[in-house]
């Protein structure tokens, strides 16, 4: 199955074309707010390098966030439009699931962190078991101090928000933490997780597919100690 993945929810725009577990072509680029201008051009480049046309793609995968509100809407709208207009399946994958997937081989707890603005992060907590992942704490948004304080065992952090909060986290949790960087395999992870679900016939409704925001449209600023859960 050939799956085209698009994820524009974060600092980098990812377009990945996979045939089952094999990468046919891929692109990762600093989004710098030009996701809308360039996303189709990135898609076209990836398809050309693989010698394929859009119609040759069997299914689409899209990052549904949480992340940049406008960013996530661009990739998701493009992906779902491809899917419903060409009558192909689509599968939405959360940014947090994709980041955790990248760290699945690390063992123990994995905590993906995505920037939510004004010192807040989007996070969730997973346990890697036999190279698989079990979600232990659901998606939420809030101040990083509140989200990580309750973690009482070795944990791996991954994601674009990790660098900014590295010192705070180390101070709170001590030597039991490790940091895996920004998560540049996120685009591939979106494709792999989507493929798993698509094989089992668990695609999404292409017309209904919507972003995962975790925040009220009017609540740009979360106060200290205030949290939003999925």
């Amino acid at each position: 199955m050939k799956v085209l993945s698009i994820d524009t929810a974060g600092r980098y725009d990812f377009v990945v074309l996979m045939q089952d577990a094999r990468i046919l072509a891929e692109t990762a680029r600093d989004s710098a707010n030009n996701s809308l201008r360039d996303i189709i051009i990135l898609v076209d480049g990836v398809l050309r390098r693989a010698g394929l046309a859009l119609r040759d793609v069997d299914a689409f995968a899209v990052g549904i966030g949480p992340g940049s509100w406008t960013g996530v809407r661009v990739g998701l709208t493009v992906g779902k439009t491809f899917a419903f207009s060409l009558d192909k399946p689509v599968c939405g994958v959360s940014s947090l699931d994709a980041l955790a997937y990248e760290a699945r081989g690390e063992g123990g707890l994995v905590c993906p962190l995505v920037d939510a603005g004004r010192g807040n992060v989007y996070a969730a907590l997973y346990r890697s078991v036999n190279a698989g992942l079990v979600k232990e704490r659901d998606y939420s948004a809030g101040p990083v101090e509140v989200l990580v304080r309750s973690i009482a065992e070795p944990v791996v952090f991954i994601g674009e928000a990790v660098e900014e909060h590295r010192d705070t986290i180390t101070e709170l949790l001590g030597p039991q933490v490790r940091f895996l960087g920004e998560g540049h395999g996120r685009g591939r992870a979106v494709g792999s997780l989507a493929l798993d679900r698509l094989i089992r016939g668990q695609g999404d409704d292409s017309l209904a597919l919507s972003p995962l925001y975790l925040r009220d449209p009017l609540a740009r600023a979360l106060g200290a100690g205030e949290m939003a859960e999925s």
Binding site: L36, I39, W69, T70, R73, V74, S85
Partner: protein, 333 residues
């Protein structure tokens, strides 16, 4: 040419199919109820709703016209003028469709869409004509020399006319949007009960202004109990001032430019008193007035598709780098 139009510049998600001047379908998903409690459009809420609605609206437009995407020969999308977050959704979907079906795409200025709504409604309307386009988001007077050839003669210096209706309705506790409720209530009121100021009177430029008028209404009734206020008389007098301002500035420009044909379009063009006064005054001054049909007055994608058909026909095709330009100028070809 069969053109698919997409419009998401504000709070309506719309898709339409237009062919050779015929509107085959024009589907509009309105969010007005969602924004009503805020007394205006909240851009982030609008953008979220556009993502949810866009696919359904496109499918419905195809179903209603019995067309399939493989028959579509061009895609037109509002890319200029509007709210950035909402505009992004329409442009993303339109680019995906144009790329998937390898057809030309063109980006349309929202106001150009309203100008084409006038032409779609009145195919016999000649060039040049003067177009007053007036809504909750804009108020503009354009000299239309030919298809896609414009000269902007005047525009609002502050609020849009529809915005003034909204603000007065909010102040008087009449709800949102203000236009329809004021139009209805004004029919029971005395238009001459209050002598509100006519903005920019005596000025040569056909520009518009509504904030001073709004302030004078508010200042006059501020602090008064709502139950004791002559609501129908207030809105009738206020509406009369707005209509008088719009009609007199338009006719002033028509006289300066010696244009005999006047197109009235946009959401506020549905106002019954505006239509009445335009009809009377134009008859008196030997002008011919053309009103946009009510179904094409508000924001809709049929007008965008019509403008797109003209632009694509004239060779104005965008690349896949088409971007949004929320404050873009109305440009001629």
């Amino acid at each position: 040419m069969l053109v698919l139009g997409i419009e998401t510049s504000c709070d309506e998600t719309s898709a339409a199919l237009v062919s050779g001047g015929d509107v085959l379908s024009n589907i509009i998903a309105s969010q007005v109820d969602l924004h009503a409690k805020y007394g205006g459009v909240v851009p982030e809420i609008a953008a979220r709703k556009h993502v949810e609605a866009i696919g359904y609206v496109v499918e419905e437009a195809l179903d209603a016209s019995s067309k399939s995407l493989s028959e579509v020969e061009g895609v037109a999308v509002t890319s200029k003028y509007g709210l950035v977050g909402p505009l992004v959704i329409g442009v993303a979907a339109a680019k995906a469709l144009a790329y998937a079906f390898q057809v030309p795409i063109t980006g349309i200025h929202h106001i150009e869409g309203h100008i084409f709504a006038g032409m779609l409604s009145n195919p016999q309307m000649p060039f040049p004509h003067l177009c007053l386009t007036v809504s909750g988001g804009h108020t503009m007077l354009v000299y239309v020399k030919g298809p896609c050839r414009y000269e902007v003669l005047g525009q609002t210096l502050d609020d849009a006319a529809g915005e003034a209706f909204d603000k007065i309705a909010k102040f008087l506790g009449l709800g949102f949007p203000g236009g329809p409720v004021i139009d209805r209530l004004a029919r029971q009121g005395d238009r001459a009960a209050f002598d509100f100021p006519r903005p920019l009177k005596g000025r040569k430029n056909p520009d518009f202004s509504f904030s001073g008028l709004k302030t004078s209404v508010v200042n006059r009734f501020k602090g008064r109990e709502r139950s004791g206020m002559p609501l129908a008389d207030i809105v009738a007098s206020f509406q009369e001032a707005v209509v008088d301002h719009l009609v007199s500035k338009t006719l002033q420009a028509a006289s300066q430019r010696q244009v005999a044909h006047i197109s009235v379009t946009g959401g506020v063009a549905i106002n019954s008193r505006l239509r009445e006064v335009f009809t009377e005054e134009c008859a008196r001054g030997r002008y011919r007035v053309y009103f946009t049909m009510p179904s094409l007055c508000g924001d809709n994608a049929a007008m965008i598709a019509a403008a797109g058909a003209a632009r694509i026909g004239l060779g104005d095709v965008a690349g896949m780098d088409l971007n949004v330009d929320p404050s873009g100028q109305l440009e001629s070809l």
